[in-house]
Symmetry: C2
Amino acid sequence: MAYTRRLANLATWQLSEAAARAHRILREYLDGENANGYEYRVLAALGDLGQISQVDLGRATGLDRSDITHTVRKLEARRFVSRESDPRDARRSLVELTEAGRRMLVRLDKVIQLVQDEVFMPITDAEITVLLGLLRRLS
Amino acid sequence: MAYTRRLANLATWQLSEAAARAHRILREYLDGENANGYEYRVLAALGDLGQISQVDLGRATGLDRSDITHTVRKLEARRFVSRESDPRDARRSLVELTEAGRRMLVRLDKVIQLVQDEVFMPITDAEITVLLGLLRRLS
DNA sequence: GTGATATCATTGGTGATACCAACATACTAA
DNA sequence: TTAGTATGTTGGTATCACCAATGATATCAC
């Protein structure tokens, strides 16, 4: 990368370059499974938390409610999730994984693991620990 | 942030969270100067490299040619850059900063420095050095 | 109980970032 | 000279992040 000095010297630039590489690799792998980042986030949260409302899904994934709506509807069309109205609060729609959704999540989890391996290949496990400690303090 | 376990445990997630925070801060500060990331990158490259072609601008900034076209035209409309045809190669358009562009870059450079300070406030200079070393190896 | 307030899902946006393909023009190399 | 290449432009697409308005529903204050 022959980036110009002003950019290459910025710490935020280097941070965003590393994240961009990780993101490119993630996108590439997810694309191979016909998924995107929003979809993985939603499936992952449902895998962890079971049947939950869309608001809770938003909190668990960091997605805006409107993006949750869109993503959940796409996943529903592909039969990866099902929805029902919450009997105790008609405003809420409760979302959960279908069997196909669970299988998809298993596949995506594996793929995501490959992404981790590829992204962090250049550094050792001990270095990853150091890195994550610093990143966490930045977040 | 109460992200779900599957996401919070991903190293790539933590990397992208830290980068996202940096990006939010950058956006906020640039917005205050009526600029965006593409515009700063182009101005910064022109500040470093002087009069250069759009292809070279793309290489120096990591931007696609089409995005360079768009960004340079916007900067030209605001009189921050000027363009002329390369007398030695009529395909090329040579771009350079105007006086107003130079002043804008000075302002943006200062703002970008504030962004660095705010983003990396939570860790020490020595830790920044460690972090950048690891990030560079990941890129 | 009722009126004000808040919450939830939805709809319909915006802007930034990162790409891609096709094209006309202009140059280069065989 | 001709085939191929480089450059800038145009006109897209996808992803990600975010915002405002709205109707339906719940909850709170009284």
